[in-house]
Amino acid sequence: MRTKSMRGLGLVAVVASGALVLAGCGSSDDGGTASDTASESASESTGGEDPAAADGGNAGGTINVLTLEEQFLHIDPQRVYTGVDLAFLNGYMQRTLTAYKFAEGAEGVTIVPDMATDLGTPNADGTQWSFTIRDGVTFEDGSEVGCADVKYGVSRTFAQDVITDGPTYAISLLDIPTDADGASVYKGPYVTEGNDMAAFDAAITCSDDNKTITFNLSRPSGDFNYTVTLTAFSPVPAAADTGEGYDNAPVSSGPYKISEYTKGQKMVLVRNENWNPDSDDYRPAYPDQIVVQFALDPSAIDQRLIADAGDDQTAVTFAGLTPESLATVFAGGDPRFTERSVDGLDPYVRYLAINTQKVPNQKQRQAIAVAINRGELITIAGGDFAGSEGDGVIKPNLATDYEASGMWDGLLGGTVPSEGDPELAKKLIAESGEPMPAITYDYPQTPTNDKAAASIQAALAAAGIECKLNAIEAGQYYGVVLDPEQEGALVSAGWGPDWQNASTVIPELFGVNGGFNLSRVDDPAFEEMVQAALANTDRASQAAEWKELNKYAMEQAWAIPTRFGKIQYLWGSKVGNAYLWDAYGSFPFGELYVAQ
């Protein structure tokens, strides 16, 4: 999934911090694996059937969200793909069949039923999944949500010219034929001519009572019930769909609805009277109102939270603290902050993709990897708070699939210290048998990234590699590097899994059809193993395959993992239930309350 993008910043004040990962096209949530047993209620802190009324002490008030962004990149449920945005919209407005549990730690990446009565029923080989929608689930106009609305929502993903930027698992997983070009024969609900509606109707079927939805998949999927946590699988009433315009005013199915959305200024969510608490065990819906304040200076956001005055006492954020605030908040266990701050792993691996079209020689790629001063890059990103050294594209908090790859302990031809080894790099270049080409480093421009680029350039120069820096405006970054014509040899990137399975990492980053294949990998032997792993429904042996493939990719030096990222949040003193929610590396928005 992608992190919050760092728009806005290139200019003014720039970004926050280390979290520069922007995945322009990144992935979605990093969710959890875990199992299907957690079927009871979502949040323990929710007390009672009617959460808004119950827990009288917690209901009411206004939660303020402070952000440097000008606006949400998208709020159309089918187009949202930023982890934090998913957490926000799913928590307040867009219900999904299943959702991540509101809980700290590993429990936070397990799923619970939301609109569905349970966690779904697969057939024997995992190619068909059925979910039954609860009674009383309604849109904001009071009309009942049925299978047809979910189906219509999913159909929108196929209109790839209008519904852009969203996750495309519906397209890759549903059993719909493709044409000669590999595009789906179904083109979404807006096209009538030359559009194979029947294929889509066969892929998703509704029961006669419009309650049960069945997905027919093109390959086995053992964890499709995690896939449907994405709001791309949220219901949309066909009558209200305005295509492009739906991104400004999506219809709510959750406890809140939009009362004002002024881009560059604020969004106000108020209670949706037609939300039926009896149909929703998942959302406690404590506050009366949620106000998102856009376009703030990132340093100012930190300073407001530190000051903790007035309305900022009920404030949370989308982005983490900037490095310049860390000393203030975390130094010496200042009691003003210990109770309202958190420091933990985020879902993302920061890495440098090496474009194999530009550097086809494996030894030369390894030379680049060996030359980089990883320790310095972490220091520049903020030191210990920025994260720890990475050794692969799978992170330890994806526990099932993680295993030390040994990348820096011999995989590249020797032990590589964190400051890099220019001599080993030179040796690898000599062994490559070809002259080392001059390379270009692409990165989204922010002050912090500029400094990291200077470090990379210097480290490569020490190994005799000439590197040109190509700073790209943050907002356009992924648009540029995802274009093969424009991409350089070395590319700054960050990625987190869409759910707790490396199937949302390895194939995306290094698969032929991977949506984030910045390394431009086209390796048939590797691809075959990827396909085998994808079709493997035995989770344990699948995990072993991912570990192998991760190691394979690192040995090929398709990517240089620079950091297993961390994030720090600070929140207002009157915010209740605030913690780092591992599902999205964000606050658990749907569960926050205002302490009275």
């Binding site: 910043l9 200019l11 720039v14 860390l326 000393a327 520049i380 903020g382 030191g383 922010t446 500029d450």
Partner: protein, 335 residues
Amino acid sequence: MSLTVEPGSAEGAALLGNGASSGDFAGLSLRALAWRRLRRDKAAMVAMVFLLLVAFIAIFTPWIVGLMGLDPYSFDQEALDPALGSIPLGPWGGISWDHPLGVEPLTGRDIFARLLYGARVSLFIASTSVLFIVIIGTTVGIVAAYKGGWLDTLIGRLTDLILAFPFLLILIALSPVLTQRLEAIGFSPEWARFGYIIIVFVVFGWPYLARLIRGQVLSLREREFVEAAVATGAPTRRILFKEMLPNLWAPIIVYATISLPTLIAAEAVLSYLGVGIIEPTPSWGKMLSDSVRYFVIIPSYLFIPGTVLFLVVYSFNVFGDAIRDALDPRGSRNN
């Protein structure tokens, strides 16, 4: 429509044009008188000495910094505290014998060295831009006034058009395109940025001076000595360079002195907006915009480049004002 006075804004566009007031500098060939007036202005003299010192340091930066055993590019992780967001170890932003003005957070690069190298960059960009503005502005202004007719009209419309653009916005918006173009024709990324900034400064800077000069030339043409030269059949070039140009120095010098500090400040604004000088090259603007974010925990980091930038710009302004007073007796406090 023609402007007789340049706008004094500082919000971008006008950064270039401000200050050049409508003062009529005609007939000021009394250079000695002006210099005497200037010398009596103590503040101006202090400013001038300071600026000469800065210029000296900027020219000899590599030697000065080298002698002190510093360099502006090398990272120093040892000087930083990884447990506190990579801020400098020690008080006052890590001021020590090794780093006389402390180090930059996140990188540990030496601030003293970067400040001095930054002076080079800032002054180079500002003075080169002013040089081109003066050459182009003066030439176009003279040509427009002297040739008149459709050429004058054309130049008039062109300046109108350029001055109608929201300069700052255009500058930001075109930055990616133009720097890429410059890189494509063989500039290094560093020089492409320099070139881009200079080009934009010049393109949006010359029209003001051209108008000023045009007005000067038009009024000079009516003067006796020029009319005399024309009557004696002197060639145009001789009239322009021998008779006109000496009388244009006053407005040109004033304009240049006032433009320099605005361009130095404009460079800082560009860096703040992320379209200025690119890493690893140091610049004052970048130091300032970086340091603003650290003001709470490392005030000295903000204070040092802020003070230096302020002193230089302020000195230029004081000096520029004094020159204007000296050259323009009517506005002067000393006559």
